[in-house]
Assembly symmetry: C2
Homo-oligomer: 174 residues x 2
């Protein structure tokens, strides 16, 4: 059975979406998507608020009730039947996110087991046949087939096969 590694943030879950909704409603200002290019989505926020936005990622609960990406549940469930699936999240930078992330997976992907989850700091360690991730830095060292999941911060990247949504993932894998 071939092994598929899937990233969580900006691929299965939408922390950026949640942060933007919260920020725009609380601060009455807009994020600038163009500024996210070639970096992190935090750069799309006004400079004076970026430290605060980063800090919020460290708060308990932030990752607990994130929106799930459209069509992700059905496609992940089908991939899980056909492949050896692992969810790999670079999460150890955020100690308060770890349990939240497991519980979030339990809510939206109850068919996955704790055996299928990897919470790490550096994805160079993990091996598989396919990796779906929104960060070029995670894909670049991966020896299998690399799929870049589209996000505002990676729109200028051209080195990887791009997938724009979970319907496209389904077309490739199912």
């Amino acid at each position: 059975m071939e092994r598929v590694l899937v990233d969580m943030d900006e691929v299965m879950a939408d922390p950026m979406g949640r942060m933007i909704a919260w920020y725009e409603s609380n601060y009455g200002r807009k994020v600038v998507y163009d500024k996210m290019e070639n970096g992190s989505w935090v750069k799309g926020f006004p400079e004076e608020h970026q430290v605060m936005v980063r800090q919020r990622l460290h708060e308990p609960g932030f990752f607990r009730d994130l929106p799930v990406m459209k069509d992700c549940q059905e496609v992940i469930e089908a991939i899980n039947k056909k492949y050896e699936l692992f969810i790999v999240s670079a999460a150890t930078e955020f100690p308060n996110s770890l349990k939240d992330k497991l519980e979030w997976l339990g809510d939206y992907f109850p068919f996955l087991s704790w055996r299928q989850v990897v919470l790490c700091g550096d994805k160079r360690l993990v091996t598989g046949d396919y990796m779906i991730d929104d960060h070029p830095r995670n894909l670049v060292h991966f020896k299998g087939k690399q799929y870049l999941y589209s996000a505002p911060h990676n729109m200028g990247v051209t080195e990887f096969h791009r997938v724009n949504d979970w319907k496209e993932v389904a077309e490739i894998f199912l």
Copy 2:
């Protein structure tokens, strides 16, 4: 730089030791080390208390203040200077342990970064040149050099190069 993967429980930290001390002082009964052979150390506890012992592993805080194995800190610090070191713990079965484990590492191994930690359910995913682990099930799939760290539950295992303590680890790696 060669990559070394080191397990936490029963290798760096001593959850078994903590559990036995707590159990024997609270229940006035002894664990039987011979019964741990070829299994988990929980099997050394009287049968009627094994469910309770397992349950205790799921409690918040259990992994937060474990004893650190003798000589481990100095040897890990030296290995960290000479190799690319990662701490790999099969921890996602215990969601309450995740943050505790990161904080415990911060206490005893402050020179390690969150980038060097992997909390997972299945160690077949991780690659490296050397793995030190007390569980044959983790070592058996590892492609690099395998070192079995001695524990009461693995004393009958003969397939791997055995290390009995951190002084022996130092002799091999330093």
